[in-house]
């Protein structure tokens, strides 16, 4: 299981890096999907089976489908590739990198400092527990989610009609 975790982690980081640096939107999306699938594998190895499969169903299978769909509908071809290449100058990386570096440092620091929970896969969260939590103590959050989804539905329709 540990080996699987490390393989998935490496694939995830690499594919995310490649996804960010691609100039062709379809290629970037392909790598992004790969990154999400490897994330799901990580979830599975640390015992969150339900979250893992939802990661594939919702993110890799729905949100990314939406992105590919939009890529198909806009379908601007080589013009966007040239535009993207013009945007992705080396200098453009400096700002985000400077801001992301402290975050990475903080993350590494936290990970190295607290090793008490480093044992992987010792708690398995079953789908049933997720359901009990969602429709028990967090029932209002689910209710709010339904309102949010409704707003998204109606809002997207009116934006599309313009």
């Amino acid at each position: 299981m540990n080996l699987l975790f490390y393989i998935a982690a490496v694939v995830s980081v690499l594919s995310t890096l490649i996804a960010i640096t691609r100039v062709n939107v379809t290629h970037a999306l392909l790598y992004f999907i790969l990154s999400l699938i490897s994330l799901a594998t990580i979830f599975y190895t640390i015992g969150a089976h339900f979250a893992a499969v939802l990661e594939v169903i919702v993110y890799a299978g729905a949100i990314m489908v939406m992105y590919v769909f939009v890529a198909m509908m806009l379908n601007l071809g080589h013009a966007t590739i040239d535009q993207e290449r013009a945007w992705l100058k080396p200098t453009i990386w400096i700002g985000p990198s400077l801001m992301a570096a402290p975050l990475l440092a903080a993350l590494v620091f936290v990970l190295l400092k607290d090793t008490s929970a480093a044992e992987m896969g010792h708690t398995v969260t079953a789908a049933k527990q997720v359901g009990i939590a969602l429709f028990g103590p967090y029932v209002l959050a689910v209710e709010l989610a339904s309102m949010l989804l409704l707003a998204g539905l109606v809002g997207a329709y009116h934006l599309a009609r313009k």
Binding site: H27, I57, G61, V65, F69, N75, A126
Partner: protein, 328 residues
Amino acid sequence: MFEFVVGSPLNIVLILGAVLVAAALLIWVERRVLGFLNERLGPNRVGPWGIAQSLADVGKLITKEDWVPPFADKLPFIVAPIIVPVVMLLSFAVIPIAPGVGIMDLNIGLLWVLAMAGLGSYSAMLGGLASNNKFSLLGGLRAAGQMISYEVFMGISILGIVILSDSFNLREIVEAQHKHGWFVFPQFIGFIVFVIAGLAETKRWPFDLAEGESEIISGFNTEYSGMKFGLFFVGEYIGMLLLSALIPVLFFGGWYAPFGLELPNAIISGIFWMCAKTGCWIFFFILVRAALVRPRYDQLMNYGWLVMLPLSLLNLLVTGAVVLAQGN
């Protein structure tokens, strides 16, 4: 003798081999049956009754030119046909075939199948997008709209089964049916929605709008030829096989024999009945192909969103209410 344990190397090799051979046979069976239904012979030259036709087809496809159009987007163009057979074969990993026969006993098996079905919709989308051909793009869009819509209905329609069996594990679902009777009776609406959504999800007739050769040449696979087309093609048939195996597992008691007609050996009996039930559904889908005509695209979508979705949600609510009212 062999010891059958879920996930043993023997199981993996046998099931993978059986699925591939069955898919190849299925292509021949369908062409032959359709031939008879259309009052012609169908493929009858290669081997006895033409049974080796698919083998000859593979031999032909594999020696054809591996052509990538110069105007296409190469990476997605090549990845697209690989996706279908891979996700369909991976779905088979959780299908229980008999006691002790199966590749993986995943406790989220049902969700695994749904996740794989979700990933499957990329093949047609990417194929259509990468081909850089008007008709491919239209076919890809049609395929995407159809597959993602019916994926939702398919997912919701089987939740009634999850409620009744209280599990995502396909093996436990089969066992629950052994205890409480086939789920096709209490879940009849869910069953109907599932079969229709499954047909649309595999893009099989009558829902072959993504290919619709009288309208958009061959849809998303217009620019595909040789083995890449072959992968799309065989992926579709593995998908049909998967659907035909899922329906018995979810609604018709899986490997358990109906009417107490068990064979002496539990494993042989299980394999026999599972194959028999799957075969019935395959035959049903071939008959559907021969009998029905293609709907219009707006009819397909509106039927889905305005009939299938409310029906499956209603089915879920009623099932939930009944289960809760029975207090168990």
